[in-house]
Subunit: 103 residues, 2 copies
């Protein structure tokens, strides 16, 4: 199975949700299943994708597999987005100016 880019990994809503859940701290896989309205194997599959994209890491603790966030690939995405930032803020500024002129 070949690794997915961070971009592709983020395309799936359940996977973004998993990352959101891990943002507050590490969690065993089972806890993720509870929060996801998705079968256990389904979650496991998504976790594999996230692992291969380098977005999460696993640690074995007793019978549990504890997942934690690995945010570095997100930094790359954010970097790609950076040059666009001025474009949308330009637009928002224009909107603000428009609203000022037409209150």
């Amino acid at each position: 199975m070949n690794g997915m880019s961070a971009y592709a990994a983020l395309a799936e809503p359940h996977r973004r949700r998993i990352l959101d859940l891990l943002r507050t701290g590490e969690r065993p896989a089972g806890e993720l299943v509870e929060h996801l309205d998705l079968s256990q194997p389904g979650v496991s599959k998504h976790l594999k994708v996230l692992r291969e994209a380098g977005l999460v890491a696993v640690r074995t603790h007793g019978k549990q597999r504890v997942y934690s966030l690995r945010p570095e690939p997100l930094a790359e995405v954010a970097e790609w987005l950076e040059p666009y930032r001025m474009l949308w803020s330009q637009r928002l500024d224009a909107l603000e100016r428009h609203l000022e002129d037409n209150p």
Copy 2:
């Protein structure tokens, strides 16, 4: 055909490249084809996806279809990323500290 999320639209490298090309200004579709090592219909298909995701807009100018960037959906992605930012900078700070201590 149903609209794709910005996240999903960004999953495809050619589509990110198209956005990068449009970042410097609007361009007719043909010009994008020249830059993309992809068939003309292929590019057209990706442009359709980007249109449906609200990431580009088209304007007809003579025989040409001129595409321009519409960055707002990217702002949404950036917003989602925001809470993660502190996590990877934390990590980088830790790295810096480590390097200071072990020069």
